[in-house]
């Protein structure tokens, strides 16, 4: 838990913002922690940019790797299918 979140120190640093961003985005912070994050965001364009680009990185990783972007080939590797059927027969 962040010192600021525990001690009630009024403001969160950028380091603490980044450290607890994962929990913030999950909605896993306490009401007070979330409020502190919102106060920090309202005053810190750097952390706004960090949060937006962190979320963009997650979406871009997904979009770059998932089949909807790079369709699964419709041809089925016949040798593999036969190997699986043979392995099943022998199991």
């Amino acid at each position: 838990m962040s010192p600021a979140l525990v001690t009630g120190r009024p403001s969160l640093t950028c380091r603490e913002f980044v450290e607890f961003l994962y929990d913030y985005l999950l909605g896993a912070l306490s009401a007070r922690g979330t409020a502190e994050f919102n106060v920090h965001l309202a005053a810190c364009p750097s952390c706004v940019a960090y949060m937006k680009t962190y979320e963009a990185s997650v979406r871009m990783g997904r979009a770059a790797l998932l089949p909807s972007d790079d369709p699964v080939p419709s041809d089925i590797p016949e040798a593999l299918v036969q190997a699986i059927l043979a392995a099943r027969g022998g199991s």
Binding site: T13, C14, R62, L65, P67, I76, L85
Partner: protein
């Protein structure tokens, strides 16, 4: 040779036929699911032969544990979990080189807690930035640059949609470790993507 069956198979009827030991049902399942499972194994293993072996391992172990499958999820979901485990098993046996540090890819802060380098917004939405194939290839290459234990957690959680508990079980680590690694992996990926996508770049 049995007839190629690529039509969606009614789930409960498929299960019943599989449990009855119908060869045709098993072959239909293998043909329906292999392309998707192979894509999962390729993402995790990055090696064609290893990926094929993992898919084969997965089907063999699925067939052996068919009687224990309670039908609480779709057969395709069940197979997805099995192939992830089969791929992780292969990854573990191959991982011999020492793990690289991720520290240099994490953001740094001044003593007062401010960013050393101020993050910039990017020049477009995530979706628009990936319109070109070379940009998607770049993102894939950046994910490949992550140290293995971080790359694996990122793939399981953000790409393969395992939840924290499932990823922790599959990797044999605690849920806290999964959360910490995922957050660091995302931060490191962000660091690697930034020079290409930040505002002011082409």
């Amino acid at each position: 040779m049995l007839e190629l069956n690529t039509r969606p198979v009614e789930e409960h009827s498929l299960l019943r036929r599989l449990r009855a030991g119908e060869d045709g049902a098993f072959e239909a399942l293998v043909r329906r699911e292999t392309p998707r499972l192979l894509a999962v194994a390729r993402r995790l293993l990055r090696n064609e032969e290893d990926a094929k072996d993992a898919v084969q391992d997965a089907f063999v172990s699925a067939f052996r544990s068919l009687k224990n499958f309670e039908g609480s999820c779709q057969v395709s979901t069940w197979l997805h979990r099995i192939v992830v485990n089969a791929a992780l098993m292969r990854l573990r046996t191959k991982r011999r080189k020492p793990e690289e540090s991720i520290e240099e890819l994490l953001p740094t802060f001044l003593e007062d807690g401010h960013h050393v380098r101020h993050p910039h917004e990017w020049r477009d939405t995530a979706e628009a930035l990936l319109a070109q194939k070379e940009d998607r290839d770049f993102v894939r290459a950046c994910i490949d640059r992550l140290p293995e234990s971080f790359r694996t957690v990122l793939l399981l959680r953000d790409i393969e949609d395992l939840d924290t508990a499932e990823a922790a079980r599959a990797l044999g680590v605690t849920e806290t470790v999964v959360k910490v690694r995922l957050h660091r992996a995302r931060q490191a990926l962000r660091t690697l993507l930034e020079p290409r996508f930040r505002r002011g770049t082409a």
